[in-house]
Subunit: 175 residues, 3 copies
Amino acid sequence: MAENSQLAGIHLILGGARSGKSRFAENRINHAGGGIYIATGRAWDDEMANRIALHKSSRGEIWQTIEEPLDLCAVLTACNHEGSKPVLVDCLTLWLTNLMLDDRDIEAEFDRLCGILPGLDIPVLLVSNEVGFGIVPENAMARSFRDHAGRFHQRIAELADQVTLVVAGIPMSVK
Amino acid sequence: MAENSQLAGIHLILGGARSGKSRFAENRINHAGGGIYIATGRAWDDEMANRIALHKSSRGEIWQTIEEPLDLCAVLTACNHEGSKPVLVDCLTLWLTNLMLDDRDIEAEFDRLCGILPGLDIPVLLVSNEVGFGIVPENAMARSFRDHAGRFHQRIAELADQVTLVVAGIPMSVK
Amino acid sequence: MAENSQLAGIHLILGGARSGKSRFAENRINHAGGGIYIATGRAWDDEMANRIALHKSSRGEIWQTIEEPLDLCAVLTACNHEGSKPVLVDCLTLWLTNLMLDDRDIEAEFDRLCGILPGLDIPVLLVSNEVGFGIVPENAMARSFRDHAGRFHQRIAELADQVTLVVAGIPMSVK
């Protein structure tokens, strides 16, 4: 399905593992001349740090990269004051992981983000893993994670202007 | 994608965990003035019993609730005689779980339900978890469960008038 | 959604476990008068061998069956010389499993297949399991498998003329 190529408002981009969801989001912003990449992943070890550095250099100079594992709302608010550059958050599920590991109040964090998003003047692309289409996990932490992720995606999708499900690198329009 | 707002025939509503599939189905029947809610989940403990009671009261007086973990076919047949109220079955995968734990003949139960559904005069919304998009589970019971669920969904979808996949609370029309 | 019934080019058919993806692909080729079935699954034991034999006989005489767990590229090239019969590969994820168990260079095998596919003169339907929509697996081999599968699907989808996601036996058009 064709995607509207114009960047505007809030766009939730869901996909499975290695589905091409991040690349799809990056390409959308590349076509708009670049933007701000908010990386929520943490560099746990040298291998991960190298991968992050490699990704950063591959995006090129039209991108500014901000690494923020937890305080996504503050970064989004700051970006909103910098002008009209579009923002890519990659990704919400890593952010959720970090919040859970840091023992944050998850619902309060979701409330905060969902309170901020509608007031932003910049296009925001939010990438996230769809993780709810498998068998109930035996691990309690995993069950909690996918429950949080599912509820969170519903809330973001409700306020989003566009929702896309990426399958094998191809966007399917959901909303 | 827009959904036909009129309730008629058999509507299979698939979705992942916390995808908003039940809420979507409830809203469809709320707009039609209410209906009969067939809850297949079992109250294993006080917490679950409380959740069921909470859900029941939140649906309000336009709903009648019937709890039936196993004999779904008898309940559907009885509802069909009561008049034209639409029915919501929530959900098929919990029903399948109960059938497996009760050591029933699964294929015979599927045959029975698929034999009854086309003859019903009331709109029936069947909610079920799509569980087949993950890695093959290591647990044999889980593998058997997802095989049964997959085959069952195919059979219901074939005789259904509508099939919807709910992603992040948003309906995608499948059939 | 309606599917173009004419067979041409490369068609990637994704689906979950027991989603009806193989049956969908078989029906497409049945309507075209039959074809060549390339089975990548291995008969590990008598039960599996019996299932394969049963499937083979159920497809009937309009099908030729070739069993090839590893050297898919050689078989496709050979089929291309035999004339214009359409080919069904069932399935890519079993092929990937066999490659991993045989300790092959996965990326080199993907390169080889993606190099061959665009030059084939016959319609090729490639069936594969979408496995990336669940929780991150705890098993490292499973994580590697789904990473490979995801990247592989992206590459095939990019060069494919059609991509279909089968949900409960019903095709959803992706590309």
